[in-house]
Amino acid sequence: MKRFEALVYAAVLAVLSLMLVAEGRRATKLAAQQAIAPKALYAQLSNPKVQLQVVDLRDYDDDHFLDAHIPGAIPFPGCDLSRAPGRARDRAYPYVATVLVTESGDPSALAACASHFGQVRLLAGGMDAWSNANLPEDTGDYVPPKAGGGGGCL
């Protein structure tokens, strides 16, 4: 009887452990889908060990990308390759963790770009929030990173 009781306790603990692991995995998966705050993105971009690409979905014109963009951001207006400038067309990689930048963090961008990128998150509040947080910005044309120049862009 005592042995049976111990087995029941052990079985319950085993089941609970499995449930805990499953919920932990779910939490990790969900965290990867949540919008990322500007300061958190800045912290990640400042860390050369983190592989991350920033894709700017705003129009490539004087009022949007050319006026101000996150340093290193790849222009990809509306996730439409034909609207991207020539130098940027082969720069957005589908298998790299990606943060999408819109004007104000419009979540419909995720649906529009779901087929282009595997692991994708949205910048919470978009470029407006990045600017309001006084984080570094670049202006002008997109300049592809130089070969061997290192991963950091800030």
Binding site: Y9, L16, L20, R26, L30, A31, Q34, P107, L110
Partner: protein
């Protein structure tokens, strides 16, 4: 099985149930937030 061992098991089980429940609620909230953000 001694009372102290039984109590230890029960405390462990209660703690794990609490942890699973907390994580489950957090995950469900995050999931519904994401669903709301994706029309």
């Amino acid at each position: 099985m001694s009372t102290s061992v039984r109590a230890m098991f029960l405390v462990l089980i209660a703690g794990m149930i609490s942890a699973v429940a907390t994580l489950h609620v957090k995950n469900s909230q995050a999931e519904s937030q994401l669903r709301g953000a994706r029309p």
